[in-house]
């Protein structure tokens, strides 16, 4: 027998057209429940559905039901056509996700090429990136970050789930070139060896 509160939260998450976080669930229950208590119940529900044809997943602190990825071949239909991204848009999205918050100039420094206005627009229209204020440097450029919709679309529980982000950070590949340059000066000999080989 599933208890009433668990049923209620399950129905809410099932009926909602957007993923819900614990606070939203608590607010709608109008009950004296803490978000922590709600989360415990949500995890019970998720566990109950584990291994079934419907799973409850967490994306950026928000939960929603979806089908398991291994059943994609049965469910994929002609009309399912997730937004095709240009290579430029895919790269810009990756740079925003791995470096956020990041300005357009910083994106361009990594890509070595100007970013057309349309590229950022496509990503903002998809609601995968959003402006996140301004960088307090001369010119006060707009900076961008990824959204919860980004996490949801790409099946990420949080930004920590970004593929390989820990390795990239450890290798210093998320540091600006200037910083990496200072650190790498000692390795110059290696480079020269490579050239001579």
């Amino acid at each position: 027998m599933i208890d009433d509160l668990e049923r209620a939260i399950e129905a809410m998450l099932f009926a909602s057209d957007t993923p819900l976080d614990a606070r939203q669930v608590a607010g709608r229950l109008g009950d004296e429940m803490t978000p922590g208590e709600i989360r415990t119940i949500i995890q019970t529900i998720a566990a109950r559905h584990a291994g079934s044809g419907i799973e409850l997943v967490e994306r950026g602190g928000h939960w929603h039901f979806q089908t398991p990825a291994d059943l994609a071949h049965l469910l994929r239909r002609e009309r399912d056509d997730p937004r095709k991204l240009s290579r430029a848009a895919a790269e810009v999205l990756a740079i925003v996700a791995y470096h956020e918050p990041v300005s357009r100039a910083e994106i361009e420094a990594i890509r070595g090429v100007q970013t057309s206005k349309g590229t950022l627009d496509v990503l903002m229209e998809a609601e995968w990136i959003a402006p996140a204020g301004r960088r307090e440097v001369p010119g006060r450029p707009l900076i961008y970050k990824t959204t919860d919709a980004f996490l949801q679309h790409f099946g990420l529980t949080s930004r920590k789930d970004l593929p390989g982000i820990d390795d990239l950070r450890a290798a210093g590949l998320l540091d600006p070139v200037d910083l990496a340059f200072e650190e790498a000066m000692g390795e110059l000999d290696l480079v020269k060896d490579g050239e001579e080989a």
Binding site: T67, A72, R76, A90, F154, G155, L162
Partner: protein, 257 residues
């Protein structure tokens, strides 16, 4: 590091010497992208790449493109000029005073290529994830959570009563009430003067007949009404009046006294 295929567009293959000329420069996202593709053809980790070799590859590629009269965008030519400078600097005997040194420039280029390569792979891995609408599916028409606003009209008894008061006030006939000013009427002045005239036997000034505690507007009113009363008593032959000239004090006494 293994490079994952992108699912959205064909990544241009690393150009072999022979088919390099088949490729248009539009295949690349700028000179850094072209450099990275050329670097990949060295089939070594970017850390071990020969920058001098890469420079050669790039300059050859651009030269061939121009021979074929392909339009080469300005930023590719700027990069070519910079790489030609880098090449000569790397080949010439080292000048210890040169800053930055050619080795430092080469290192910077290598670091930039590594960063771009890292993001290129990250993009590919991101797009290869289980994506909503392609690999995992949501409900198509969820019931949705809705807040339905129920209007609750609010008013207090005071609002009600004051509103009614205003209605009443608007609909009542308008009455002008003039407030009573302190005055001495002609009747009162006549009565007073008649009494006083019997007491005073000799000529006396009109103002002497007025009570001493009258002042301000009340005194002015008393003078006016007493004057009219004096005229009335004179007409009846009950007092005599005398005045030396215009605006001089007015004297009166009982007639025949």
């Amino acid at each position: 590091m293994e490079e994952l295929p992108l699912d959205f567009e064909i990544v241009p293959a690393a150009p072999e010497r022979d088919d390099a000329l088949q490729l248009s420069l539009e295949s690349w996202e700028g000179p850094l992208d072209l450099l990275l593709t050329l670097a990949r053809s060295q089939k070594v980790d970017l850390k071990q790449i020969s920058i001098l070799g890469l420079v050669e590859q790039y300059l050859t590629f651009i030269a061939e493109a121009r021979e074929l009269k392909l339009e080469v965008a300005a930023d590719y030519l700027v990069m070519a000029a910079w790489l030609a400078y880098l090449k000569s600097a790397l080949l010439l005997p080292k000048d210890p005073l040169e800053d930055p040194s050619p080795d430092e420039l080469a290192l910077r280029l290598q670091l930039r290529l590594q960063r771009l390569a890292a993001m290129r792979e990250a993009a590919a891995r991101l797009l290869a994830r289980d994506r909503v609408g392609r690999d995992v599916f949501l409900r198509v028409k969820p019931e949705g959570l809705r807040d339905i606003k129920v209007r609750r009209w609010d008013a207090s008894l005071y609002d009600l009563l004051s509103a009614y008061g205003q209605v009443k006030l608007r609909s009542e006939p308008v009455v002008h009430m003039v407030s009573r000013r302190p005055v001495i009427t002609l009747d009162a002045a006549l009565h007073h003067l008649q009494r006083m005239i019997g007491v005073k036997l000799d000529w006396a000034e009109l103002s002497d007949f007025l009570p001493a505690d009258y002042d301000g507007p009340l005194r002015r009113s008393a003078i006016a009404s007493s004057f009219v009363a004096a005229l009335e008593l004179a007409r009846q032959g009950r007092v005599d009046l005398k005045q030396e000239g215009a605006f001089e004090p007015l004297y009166l006494k009982a007639a025949g006294a």
